[in-house]
Amino acid sequence: MKKSTLLILCLALTLLVGVASAQDTVTLTIESWRNDDLTIWEDTILPVFEAQYPNIDVVFSPTAPAEYNAALNSKLEGGTAGDLITCRPFDASLALYQSGYLASLNDLSGMENFSDVARSAWITDDGADVFCVPMASVIHGFIYNMDIFAELGLEEPATVSEFYAVLEAIKADGNYTPLVMGTADQWESATMGFQNIGPNYWMGETGRLGLIDGSAKYNEGGFLAAFEALGEWAPYLGDGYQAQTYPDSQNIFALGLGAIYPSGSWDISVFNSTAEFEFGAFKPPVPDGQDECYISDHTDIAIGMNAATPNAEAAQTFLSWVASAEFATLYSNALPGFFSLSSEPVVVEDPVAAEFVGWRNECASTIRSSYQILSRGEPNNETQLWEVSASILNGTVTAQEGADTVQAGLEAWFEPQQ
């Protein structure tokens, strides 16, 4: 009897303390799929914010990436989701906004720090409403083994013909795999291959928006040229590349067995911890005689506000901070390879990551051609790019046949292309 009285007293006290502290401090919860970044948020990013806003307490609460979309949807439906929602790019988040789960952020201070390309993944189709603050993008390029380049007396190629000259030299030497990429998982062929070198051929945003308004086609002009350029990689890939998976490729490069690794900037931190040699990066080579260069600066992650949050004011304060230059610097350096999308200048300390992000000043940015609008229908544009890119590299279809397949797939449902 005494014990239970004590227990109730304790509980009541805890509740009181809880209520008392809640009056001064607001607790915001962030929903996210980046469970790898938990310690970075808790130890590096959030303490800086909480030091400036002592009355706002932020909790980073991630879910496993594969379960995130489903878990978030049911939490939002049940009204138990956190105040801040990490946004997937394009349709997954657009659907949440259209269902009224994400708040419009048109009037958020700090939003002016983001360009149209940066916002493109989190706006309505008509461009009228933006609903997430862009956080980071990933950039494509080529990572290379500096020791091998020094040994063979090679230099970073800038044009396509220099690129092939370098590949030929490595192949002639015979000790190293010139290009480290496999086609077994298919997505690398499309992502690190086609979408990596492609923007130089289809002139970045011009080509990508052309697909959306129907003025460009996958089976002609720049897009066809990109498929053809990809097909020329086949002789330089490693023996048995048809069965080489993404982890295989990472291992081959990290073990120093290959010279050039077509990559995404997210691989930088992987090689920082696995490769024992110096590695550098060069941007996708431009076709000979072309002055402008284009890079895939793919919008990947953003953060929005739960429309039903009771702490809207605090959430907006946090989001404005996320839009600031201070957050941009913090985030880009804590996660090398994930680059802030802010137009504010950011100093990145990791040398290879700095090289990647430096290309933004030299080249025009675009995003992957299939992500906005074009992957809504059946067949799925992104999935078709995977299989076609892999098949072109495997030599089972020609570039023209592959390009025709993708174009036909788009024409099957996408009105502007019909």
Partner: protein, 304 residues
């Protein structure tokens, strides 16, 4: 005549199994079949009843029809490999292991059975490493073999995946055959021998006819297992059944459709229609077995 008390104990003993089976197998199955008769309109909103519309689309729509026929053909090929390689091999192994002249039978039996108690994911990963152009190539190069990228070529991927599955599961039919072979009374075999039958005669004329019921059961289990297959392909080839859909089974097609894949949004009503097709195929196969083959087998046994 005294009235017997209602056998409550039977109800009590059956209840846990019946309740769990109904809740976790029968109800989801029926609900999934129900869902396959609905569709979500393009503008969103509640599900609308469309009868067999999804199934019709699956088999006539220019987008779905090639996918379902390809998945059906691949799954059938996967099944044929098991019927032609796994089951005869299992029968051969079981016959050898049932023989008294083979030493170390218990060791062989255990070794051959071991893969089937391991996780499919583990098996897939190990074989991917063995056949990998990075690790496997170095391994095979030691013995002078230049390993082709078996899992990456359209022509070889499905046969190789099927053989990996055969390697993993051959122990199960082998055990079933072995149990059946051991239970054959010695008198029958001895009588045949006395009549002058060779070892081969004994196998074809005595043993095989007597284990026919087991052969039938093994065939049905193989059929059900293969038309439900998903995990091995998912582990070694990914959800797209790479390369170029050459290993895309009904299971992976269902997975992509129902749960979505990368940028492909999930389509649950269409996904359940694919699952419905799988269910109907398996149901048809099992019914054919029950009403033709097993009935004949039972009839034969009774005559004996």
């Amino acid at each position: 005549m005294s009235k017997k008390a209602f056998p409550w104990h039977i109800v009590v003993f059956l209840a846990p199994a019946v309740i769990i089976y109904t809740l976790f197998m029968i109800y989801p199955l029926l609900d999934s079949l129900r869902l396959s008769l609905y569709t979500v309109p393009e503008q969103g909103g509640a599900e609308v009843f469309i009868g067999l519309g999804n199934y019709q689309r699956l088999f006539t729509d220019p987008f779905w029809q090639p996918q379902i026929t390809r998945a059906l053909a691949n799954t059938f090929e996967f099944f044929v490999f098991h019927m032609l390689v796994q089951n005869p091999l299992a029968l051969l192994l079981a016959t050898l292991l049932a023989s008294r002249f083979v030493a170390g039978r218990a060791i062989y039996r255990t070794l051959i059975f071991t893969p089937s108690v391991l996780s499919v994911v583990l098996i897939g990963f190990i074989w991917q490493l063995i056949l990998s152009p990075v690790f496997g190539r170095a391994l095979f190069a030691q013995i002078g073999i230049r390993l082709p990228p078996l899992l990456g070529q359209v022509e070889t991927a499905l046969p190789v995946v099927s053989l990996i599955s055969v390697w993993q599961w051959v122990g199960v039919p082998m055990m079933l055959f072995l149990a059946a072979l051991i239970s054959i009374p010695d008198e029958l075999i001895e009588a045949a021998r006395v009549d002058g039958a060779t070892a081969l005669d004994v196998f074809w004329r005595v043993k095989l006819p007597l284990i026919m019921p087991t052969v039938g059961i093994v065939a049905v289990l193989t059929f059900v297992g293969n038309f439900n297959a998903f995990d091995l392909v998912y582990t070694t080839q990914g959800a797209l059944g790479a390369p170029d859909y050459s290993t895309d089974l009904l299971g992976t097609l269902f997975y992509r459709t129902f749960f979505g894949f990368q940028l492909q949004l999930p389509n649950q009503t269409m996904g359940t229609a694919v699952a419905g097709v799988m269910f109907l195929i398996i149901l048809a196969g099992v019914l054919i077995y029950l009403f033709t083959i097993q009935r004949r087998l039972v009839a034969n046994t009774v005559e004996m």
